[in-house]
């Protein structure tokens, strides 16, 4: 907290405003832009790691029968793919974007607690190394699915589970500290005149996300702590034989898990709410309703968790309550989709890459939302439960939802970060390859899922062969294309067409008032917001 005064007093130290030199700059930095960049690079490395695991999964599922990996290893791949993508790729990417953009969007010199910011980043690589290292331990890594249901994750888990538990603890600590920092920044460091209802949507959605994070990450920490005690200290939280209850694990997990899926989507809502108005050259339609819709979604996320557990044997009244509560979420989400479409309506739209990704987001996220509605119907869910239909559903909301929004944000703000325009042609290739690859991968999964193909199984019945072949080809296409994204980003960092402070004609917001590339310190004197 002293650093708030530090940054203010750095006004008199005009000579000391550049980054330090050498490797230690990155270890010791408290600069929100440095830390944001490190978050983004970390999440991209994790994205490729988790993606490589997805490639192994798709390679094994390319044909029926067992070809490439053992079932035990396949289980570790599905588990680690999920864990790494959720905790290593998507969440840190959003925190990285928050670090980079929130101070510049609200006219703050830095995050409220720059040193804690450094700490919350540097926990991550260690947690990730610990998580990935379990794969090389005796008995292999986590193999119980990313939801780690007890007793599979307690009585029947490999010895490395303890390392998995500590990795989750560390990732949780990092997220909670990041969230507290973001809340403190948004609530206290806004420039004079920046009232709450003038904040950009990205700031709003992140504020709400941060509250979700501090509300549910501790519950996850509690769940893994109980697992730890069940495994090592002879307690029976989840052991039916000892008076505990495995179903309790699912309740606790999904009490965390459902808000968690909104943690992974709300910042996306903020990103596309910034990009669509910029390229439609119209202000965002229904700003106030967007804010309230986001808050409603966040509230509802706490009372729908048991829709993940319709088949465990909850009473009829419970099934009905959770079914209707879940369906209710479609209302605020519908408000959001309506507002985006209305923003585009009669706008002077151009389709640069950020807009392409955002438009694809709106269309494909809606498809994922519809399959979610299908799953929310409790009696039908008994058919869909644990099939590839579920896999199709959550990949349709997470890949075009979270990942496409992150791509859109990267392309949208890359000129601001680097001072150069990215290669538009290559970026469009990246978009179309991702778009086609993603749909080719996940759309057929709806069909095989409805026909009854179970998830998390390395082999399948022969009649699913053609659709799985298509999925695998799409998966390889989507995966390879991400290397192109890496190339585009590196190329943009190294050079390109120079851009002015505001490279996008219709863009709005304080971040476009600072030069491109954004100087190491911005808004050391707060701007005046009218």
């Amino acid at each position: 907290m002293t650093s708030v005064t530090d940054t203010a007093s750095s006004l008199d130290q005009e000579h000391h405003h550049g980054p330090a030199k050498g490797l230690m700059r990155w270890v010791l930095t408290t600069n929100h832009k440095d830390i944001g960049s490190m978050y983004l690079w970390f999440s991209f490395i994790m994205f490729l790691t988790g993606g490589a695991m997805a490639m192994i999964i798709r390679a094994e599922l390319f044909q029926p029968g067992l070809q490439i990996v053992e079932p035990a290893f396949f289980n570790q791949m599905t588990t680690m793919h999920g864990l790494i993508m959720v905790f290593g790729a998507v969440m840190p990417a959003f925190v990285g974007l928050a670090n980079w953009m929130i101070p510049m969007m609200i006219g703050a010199p830095d995050m409220a607690m720059p040193r804690m910011n450094n700490w919350s980043f540097w926990i991550l690589p260690f947690a990730a190394v610990m998580l990935v290292s379990t794969l090389f331990m005796e008995g292999g890594g986590p193999n119980f699915g990313w939801t780690f249901y007890a007793p599979l994750s307690t009585d029947y888990s490999p010895p490395s589970t303890t390392f998995f538990i500590f990795a989750i603890h560390m990732l949780g600590v990092s997220s909670i500290m990041g969230a507290i920092n973001i809340i403190a920044t948004i609530l206290n460091l806004r420039a004079p005149g920046m009232t709450m209802m003038k904040m950009p949507m990205f700031v709003w959605t992140w504020l709400i996300t941060a509250y979700l994070l501090i509300a549910v990450m501790p519950v996850l920490a509690g769940a893994v702590t109980m697992m730890l005690m069940d495994i090592h200290f002879g307690t029976s939280f989840f052991n039916a034989g000892g008076g505990g209850d495995p179903v309790l694990f699912q309740h606790i997990f999904w009490f965390f898990g459902h808000p968690e899926v909104y943690i992974m989507i709300l910042p996306s809502f903020g990103i596309v709410s910034a990009i669509i108005p910029a390229f439609a050259r119209k202000p965002l339609f229904g700003y106030t309703s967007m804010v309230y819709a986001t808050a409603s979604i966040a509230f509802l996320s706490f009372i729908v968790w048991a829709h993940h557990m319709f088949t465990v044997g909850i009473p009829l009244i419970g099934e009905l309550f959770f079914m209707y509560a879940t369906m209710l979420i479609a209302v605020p989400t519908g408000v959001k989709i309506f507002n985006w479409v209305t923003t585009m309506f009669r706008g002077s739209m151009t389709f640069e890459t950020p807009m392409l990704f955002s438009t694809a987001f709106v269309v494909l996220f809606t498809i994922g939302g519809f399959s979610g509605l299908m799953l929310s119907i409790a009696p039908a869910d008994f058919q869909y439960h644990d099939t590839y239909f579920v896999v199709a559903h959550f990949h349709y909301v997470l890949v075009p939802g979270a990942i496409f929004a992150i791509f859109a944000a990267c392309y949208y703000w890359l000129p601001k970060w680097t001072g150069y325009m990215y290669d538009e042609t290559l970026a469009k290739v990246h978009f179309w390859m991702s778009f086609i690859g993603m749909n080719l991968t996940f759309f057929p999964m709806h069909f095989v899922g409805l026909a009854g193909m179970p998830r998390r199984i390395p082999d399948y019945a022969l009649q699913f062969a053609n659709f799985n072949e298509m999925s695998s080809i799409g998966g390889f296409m989507f995966g390879t294309t991400q290397l192109l994204f890496l190339f585009i980003v590196i190329k943009c960092i190294r050079g390109g067409a120079k851009v002015e402070a505001k490279p996008w004609e219709g863009a709005e917001g304080l971040e476009w008032n600072v030069p491109s590339p954004a100087p190491y310190h911005t808004f050391t004197t707060p701007p005046d917001v009218k």
């Binding site: 005064t5 507290i180 809340i183 460091l189 501790p218 996850l220 509690g222 309740h251």
Partner: protein, 187 residues
């Protein structure tokens, strides 16, 4: 102006500190809430009879109202399991009894200590289907207290049950399951 500038960071620092303390308290509170879900869940299950948790008050059944409903035959099945680490032999004398609602059913459970140590055991009941949980009454049960067995001792423990006349009509079969715990270290 310059004085204001000097005071501004002070107040930001204070409000930031307040925000951080509050957020940290929320996070700690939610960690505690995660653990509070365990007893809350148990209470919820006991009140609603979900998950086969039987009511802790074994004397809820009022014998005065008893009137045997001979129109129905209810099968009550018994399951005996041992928690990990429990060394006793533990089994019901009969796997199943058939009773009319309101009519007492009597049987025995047998426990045998096959070790050379004195062991204290506690049995925990559970009933399925969960809708029937509150309609199966234990008038006399070895699970009301702990049981102590001397080395090599064998004990026959009586169990008297009554199925409530209010038992929903569609339920024809109940399962009463006991899990036996070694609670020697608690005594």
């Amino acid at each position: 102006m310059s004085e204001q500038d000097r005071e501004q960071p002070e107040s930001i620092e204070h409000s930031t500190r307040r925000t951080v303390i509050r957020s940290t308290l929320v996070a700690c509170g939610m960690f505690a809430f995660g653990f509070a879900m365990v007893p809350l869940y148990n209470v919820f299950c006991q009140v609603t009879g979900l998950n086969g948790k039987t009511d802790p008050n074994p004397y809820m059944y009022k014998a005065a109202e008893a009137k045997v409903d001979t129109s129905r035959d209810i099968k009550v099945q018994f399951v005996a399991t041992k928690n990990a680490g429990m060394s006793w032999d533990f089994y019901p004398s009969t796997p199943q009894v058939t009773v009319h609602p309101g009519e007492p059913g009597l049987l025995n459970f047998v426990a045998k200590n096959p070790t050379g140590k004195t062991i204290v055991g506690q049995a925990i009941p559970s009933v399925t289907p969960f809708e029937a949980t509150n309609f199966l009454h234990k008038v006399e049960c070895f699970c009301f207290t702990t049981q102590t067995l001397q080395p090599w001792e064998e004990k026959v423990m009586p169990l008297r049950i009554i199925v409530d006349q209010e038992l929903p009509k569609h339920i024809k079969k109940l399962t009463l399951s006991y899990t036996l715990f070694d609670v020697t270290h608690l005594n």
